[in-house]
């Protein structure tokens, strides 16, 4: 067993080990300042209360009913008093998103445990014309996971049972409220992994991942949720339970309705169970972190990686200087290599360590010797791997430190990533702290982020519709807050 002290050294190296309970010795060196920074960032985020969505944006409440005591009575009889919450302190975390950008005014939080309870809730709300906001881990970054007005929040956190895992086929069935990291830990003990992975894994729930068709860091290798989700059980707005929970990889019977629920953000149905195809845990995982001097090198490295690493390439992420400094400066995470305008994170996973090592070394030698890559490092153990991943996974957190974040999750042709960031810089000029781009090179998906010290409508007006027009000119795609009303009025 690793000694308790070594767990501390992992913390020191820059990654917060959420799962392990560690008693901190308060006399420890400044190297452990990181922990206080983590606490500080939580404090910072919660100090700034987001304005009510209904006040900041020109949105009109739909013709829905208002909650009354009779409704509360019904819900209490259905779920019991402890799972029907009306106190403002209980609702606060559910009314505001993780970025503290938007805030709803819900007065009621319901926490069902079973599909039957969700069905009864929706049936009742449908009859009463009460608006509902389905919610999982509330980790979404586009303002889509919280109410706009006084919708009832129905949260899946208590629907966290893993129902089954077929160790032959790798098909797992679980309830929508299972936390992604918990699912991954469960699977790893049985030699499987989840086909998706995101920075929010410690809090995001699989129901939410499916409803938003989350991509993540492994999409390059395992495909999107449309490929890996085999079945979905969802409750449609009138309370009917739609059982599309097939466990078969090949199932051509009838219409493939599950795909409608994947990515429709709860507008067509409330996902209650998921059947997902889990890949076998790779025996060898290697991670390289590279620095290059120009964007052309990024593209060449990516092309080379696909050719030389081939089937073992499992993740290819791109980070620009402005993104990485948000983590190194704001969160005190160490950058293992020097300062470069562009960085790449390349992960290779496979079934044979020697084979993968050889492939990776040949690839690295080539790109170093021909000057494509100026410097880089390969993680030599798990703690270095976690520390390097932190440089990519904690960018969203690091950016919060700047003040207010304008976030755009966009798919545009790969070759235009850096042009996009530069054009946006030119557009916003000095009003901002930074403009940065990072994301999934493998999927042509860039997370464009702009930060300013405080919310500035001048910045928003400079960004929109500029960002959308730029994207459509390149025939790209962008994600937006799910509430269609917000979109109309911006």
């Amino acid at each position: 067993m690793p000694s308790f002290e070594y767990k501390l050294s992992v913390l020191k190296s820059g990654h917060c080990v959420n799962k392990e309970r560690i008693n901190l010795d308060m006399n420890l060196q400044p190297g452990l300042r990181l922990l206080s920074n983590i606490c500080r960032i939580r404090g910072f985020a919660s100090q700034v209360q987001a304005p009510l969505t209904s006040e900041r944006y020109k949105v009109t409440r739909g013709n829905f009913a208002a909650l009354n005591d009779k409704d509360l009575g019904y819900f209490e009889s259905l779920l019991g008093k402890t799972r029907v919450l009306t106190e403002e302190s209980d609702l606060e975390g559910h009314n505001t998103d993780w970025l503290h950008m938007v805030r709803g005014a819900s007065k009621l939080l319901l926490k069902p445990k079973t599909t039957e309870e969700v069905s009864a809730i929706l049936k009742y709300c449908n009859e009463r014309k009460l608006a509902v906001c389905p919610q999982g881990g509330n980790t979404g970054l586009v303002g889509g996971s919280v109410p706009v007005f006084d919708e009832i929040v129905v949260c899946t956190s208590l629907m966290n049972n893993i129902i089954s895992l077929d160790e032959w086929s790798g098909v797992m069935v679980c309830q929508a409220g299972c936390v992604l990291e918990a699912l991954n830990d469960y699977l790893m003990e049985r030699n499987f992994i989840m086909p998706l992975d995101l920075g929010a894994k410690g809090s995001c729930q699989i129901g939410g991942n499916v409803s938003t068709n989350a991509g993540g860091l492994r999409l390059l290798r395992y495909g999107s949720l449309h490929a890996t989700v085999l079945g979905v059980e969802a409750v449609i707005p009138n309370g009917t339970v739609m059982d599309c929970l097939s466990l078969m990889k090949k199932d051509n019977t009838g219409y493939d309705l599950k795909h409608l629920f994947i990515g429709s953000e709860g507008t067509l149905g409330f996902v209650t169970k998921v059947a997902i195809q889990c890949p076998v845990k790779p025996k060898s995982v290697k991670l390289a972190f590279l620095g290059m001097d120009n964007f052309q090198s990024v593209l060449e490295t990516f092309k080379r990686a696909k050719q030389d690493l081939g089937e073992i390439l499992s993740s290819c992420e791109y980070i620009d200087r402005a993104s990485i400094t948000s983590v190194t400066d704001n969160l005190n995470v160490k950058n293992p290599i020097g300062d470069f305008p562009f960085y790449m994170l390349i992960e290779a996973s496979g079934s044979n360590e020697t084979h993968d090592e050889e492939k990776l070394n040949t690839f690295l030698e080539k790109i170093m010797s021909n000057g494509t890559v100026t410097d880089g490092t390969v993680a030599s153990d798990s703690s270095q791997m976690l520390a390097i991943w932190a440089l990519r996974e904690r960018i969203a957190e690091g950016l919060l430190y700047d003040g207010y974040v304008y976030k755009y999750d966009i798919s545009v042709p790969l070759t235009t990533f850096d042009d996009f960031v530069q054009d946006v810089w030119k557009q916003v000029g000095d009003d901002v702290v930074r403009v940065c781009g990072y994301g999934h090179l493998g999927d042509s998906n860039i997370h464009l982020n702009i930060t300013s010290k405080t919310y500035d409508p001048k910045v928003t007006s400079k960004l929109e519709p500029f960002v959308y027009e730029w994207t459509s000119k390149k025939k790209g795609w962008r994600s937006r807050p799910s509430n269609a009303q917000l979109e109309e009025n911006v």
Binding site: M1, K283, P336, M368, V378, S380, D381, S382, S383, L386
Partner: protein, 254 residues
């Protein structure tokens, strides 16, 4: 008067791996499981490299005892800045039962052979948590030892070492040659950068056997069985103090 340093590095199961007991209870599963350099040895290597950068040390030799795969661990050390490596090949049942006393004898022999002035190792390995190798090596060499080092400074002809002990920190002076074991807070190991990883391939890696060094590594212990710790039982809730007392009496605790 620059010193020559010998650093011991051990290839262990990576700290993040969930270790499983083999079905035949003879040990833990190591096949196909991720291995890496013992974290405390990484700190030892880092310290040696820093001493070299400060020109206190002129040459660093890394040593690892084990099967062929130990060479990977040595390559990591070379990539971090070590000059040469020695792989002492130990395989099979001798490797499975290799104990700190064997390794200490090997390190002592090599220290003499390599004309080392300083032997640095990690304070303990994360697989056996023995914390014996440094101390035994010092005894075999009849050299002073400074274990649990959290700071090392050259002072005159010797070293001033700050040690982490139960009550706090202890500062001692040791004459050279000496044996040091690295503790957690000694330093933060560097990442091996690609140019250094490439250079490491060309650095000399010598292979030896324990016999070459005149060390007998036949097992001195026999592993009887390796088992999982007992699974933690669920707790029970009681309504009040009376029930608590009743329950404790029933369990024979009071």
């Amino acid at each position: 008067m620059a010193l020559r340093a010998l650093v011991g590095v051990k290839r262990v199961v990576d700290y993040a791996v969930r270790v499983r007991v083999k079905p035949d209870k003879t040990g833990v599963v190591t096949d196909g499981v991720k291995h890496s350099m013992n974290p405390f040895d990484e700190i030892a290597v880092e310290e040696a490299v820093r001493l070299k950068e400060k020109k206190i040390v002129s040459e660093i030799v890394a040593v690892s005892c084990g099967p062929t795969q130990s060479q990977e661990t040595l390559r990591t050390a070379l990539a971090m800045g070590v000059d040469k490596a020695v792989h002492v090949e130990v395989t099979g049942p001798e490797y499975n039962n290799l104990q700190p006393i064997h390794v200490a004898k090997i390190l002592a022999k090599l220290a003499t052979e390599q004309k080392a002035d300083l032997v640095i190792v990690g304070k303990q390995a994360i697989d056996d948590d023995c914390n014996q190798t440094a101390q035994m090596t010092a005894a075999f060499l009849d050299w002073p030892q400074a274990v649990f080092a959290s700071k090392i400074e050259k002072e005159g002809d010797g070293l001033t070492v700050t040690r982490e002990i139960d009550g706090g920190l202890e500062t001692i002076k040791v004459k050279l040659p000496a044996v040091i074991s690295a503790d957690l807070r000694l330093n933060e190991p560097r990442y091996a950068t690609l140019p250094n990883i490439m250079k490491a391939k060309k650095k000399p890696l010598e292979k030896k056997t324990p016999k070459d060094l005149g060390v007998d590594v036949s097992p001195r212990i026999e592993v009887v069985s390796v088992e999982d710790p007992p699974t933690r039982e669920a707790g029970a809730k009681v309504e009040d103090v009376d029930q608590l007392i009743e329950k404790l009496k029933k369990l024979g605790r009071i």
